[in-house]
């Protein structure tokens, strides 16, 4: 039974694919349209580098939020990247294949847990531990880093696992034939071959961490000031938008959209680096 011809199907699929792209384009245009007038009026330097955020007094400096986003994201990578990569190595190189087929989907299931749940774990478990051991309010850069580090685990681990598993078996056999141990093979051959893919997985995880909102609002405490230590409470770019977008009007609203532009550029840079890293790997093959 032939309902649709080859060409009709192709056109329908093309239409659907382009509608997704078109939606993305509209979002980008909308954010720029709403936020750009603000950047022109206040100036990019004042916006990015002044450190007082007080919309009621007409002070719009997002420097504290930029620093906070960077700190929390880097912290998340310090927590998540080693765990994710080590886990991926263990899964592919040391764990029997049948076990891996069970464990890997289980880890990917972590990605399906709603971020509110991570946030609650942060508030009820992680923050009190931090407060008890090191002082400070507990809701802090450190708390956010730990929670985000766990949240990016599935991204980093599952992509790294795929990349490491894709390293040709002949590489490992060659290495074994030269008398290398298993760990030497992993360290000197497999990781070298999979390096750019692993880098890409970390950068994609980073993109996830920068963009995460709900859990971060709950765990970092949202104080709009430049942090001096890992125990200080901070407000990230995403948290700033989510907290205030509901009631912001006029210039304040534009400032939040301008914050969105900064975030957009942030994530685009990260994704471009990830793309370049993956391409570099393809070229080497």
């Amino acid at each position: 039974m032939q309902v649709f011809g080859e060409n009709t199907v192709r056109r329908i699929l093309m239409g659907i694919a382009f509608s997704a792209l078109f939606g993305l384009l509209l979002i980008a245009l909308f954010i720029v349209k709403e936020g750009f007038p603000f950047l022109v009026k206040v100036g990019l330097r004042d916006f990015l580098l002044s450190s007082t955020w007080d919309p009621q007094a007409g002070r719009y400096g997002i420097y504290p939020m930029v620093v906070a986003s960077l700190w929390v994201t880097l912290g998340a990578m310090v927590v998540g990247a080693p765990l994710g990569i080590a886990g991926a190595i263990f899964l592919t190189e040391f764990m029997p294949k049948p076990v891996m087929r069970v464990v890997k989907p289980t880890i990917e299931l972590l990605a399906g847990i709603p971020s509110v749940v991570y946030g609650f774990i942060g508030v009820m478990v992680v923050a009190p531990i931090i407060r008890g051991h090191w002082g400070g309010p507990g809701l802090s850069v450190l708390g956010g880093s730990v929670i985000l580090g766990v949240m990016v685990l599935p991204t980093i681990m599952s992509i790294s696992t795929d990349v490491i598993a894709a390293v040709p078996q002949s590489f490992r056999e060659g290495s074994f034939a030269l008398g290398a141990t298993r760990w030497q093979t992993v360290r000197m051959v497999v990781l070298k071959a999979a390096r750019s893919g692993i880098v890409a997985s970390v950068i994609l995880g980073m993109g996830r961490a920068v963009g995460e909102t709900m859990a971060v609002i709950m765990v970092t405490g949202n104080a709009a000031k430049v942090p001096h230590s890992m125990l200080d409470s901070v407000r990230t770019l995403t948290a700033n938008i989510a907290l205030e977008m509901g009631y912001a009007t006029g210039l304040h609203r534009q400032a939040l959209f301008a914050t969105g532009i900064v975030l957009f550029v942030f994530i685009m840079i990260l994704n471009t680096i990830a793309g370049a890293a993956i391409k570099q790997k393809a070229r080497r093959r």
């Binding site: 949202n222 709009a224 509901g246 009631y247």
Partner: protein, 268 residues
């Protein structure tokens, strides 16, 4: 194709079923949306639930967001009813029809283990302006105070700041975006101090006396307790019949009883 015949039939049935459900929803049920104050949100949910058992043909959705969101969405029409709990309504809300449906105390709260039990308005002002930073100044332990406040669009925050006056929140104050998360934060931090709706007190946090007066239904009603604000429901000038009827229900005896039972104060 990758589906066998039975698979196709199943999908077709699901499609038809969903379509029927959707069209059914749209035709037979009137829907009312409330948005705004997170302090009144749980009570609005309770009232909506009760009202829907009386009037099953009406579907009520309650959303949070804060009082400023309530005012915004009532003006823009994204919600038929905006909830706002402010001492004074702002200029832009003057065009809306405002009905006071309850009064609500703002309780000062700390962790249950905190020995401090009493604060004066002046001490509250100094704590929330960052001049008092240690609990030992107030007769408590030798620990720093964690100040927990709300985002600027919150009705609880603007009422609080308007009554206490001259608050300049320090930049390291922790900001939470609902009454519920304030409660969680204070319940999990032994050094925290925050404020929230009297109706949301529970045994996991401790309410403080303000100027020696306990925050109870009696003191709020009698006017001794200083931190009290009204709860407004905002609608357009001429609300639809269903919306007006729901507000009438809230003001009626059973509606007011629900409000009183859950710790708010009804209007006489």
């Amino acid at each position: 194709m990758f589906l066998n015949r039975r698979g196709k039939i199943t999908i077709a049935i699901l499609f038809v079923w969903t379509a029927v459900q959707w069209s059914g929803c749209g035709r037979s049920k009137l829907s009312i949306t409330l948005a705004g104050s997170t302090a009144f949100q749980p009570f609005a949910e309770k009232l909506a639930e009760q009202y829907m058992t009386v009037r099953p043909d009406i579907n009520i959705t309650v959303q949070g967001g804060g009082s400023a969101v309530g005012i915004q969405s009532a003006i823009s029409g994204t919600a038929q009813i905006g909830m706002a709990d402010l001492v004074d309504l702002p200029e832009e809300a003057k065009a809306l029809q405002a009905t006071v449906v309850a009064r609500d105390g703002i309780s000062m709260v700390v962790h249950p283990t905190n020995p401090v039990a009493d604060l004066t308005l002046d001490q509250i002002r100094q704590i929330f302006s960052g001049t008092i930073r240690q609990w030992n100044v107030l007769g408590g332990p030798d620990d720093p105070i964690t100040v927990v406040s709300r985002e600027a669009g919150s009705g609880t925050r603007s009422s609080f700041e308007q009554i206490v006056q001259q608050i300049h929140l320090p930049s390291d104050a922790i900001i939470q975006d609902s009454n519920g998360t304030i409660r969680e934060t204070v319940a999990n931090d032994k050094n925290a101090v925050g404020y929230l709706s009297h109706g949301l007190l529970n045994e996991r946090i401790k309410a403080l006396r303000v100027d020696g007066i306990e925050c109870t239904v009696q003191t709020i009603k009698g006017g001794q307790y200083p931190l009290v604000r009204p709860v407004f429901l905002l609608t357009r000038e001429k609300p639809e019949a269903a919306v007006a009827d729901f507000i009438t229900y809230i003001l009626s005896a059973p509606g007011q009883k629900t409000i009183e039972n859950s710790g708010l104060i009804g209007v006489e």
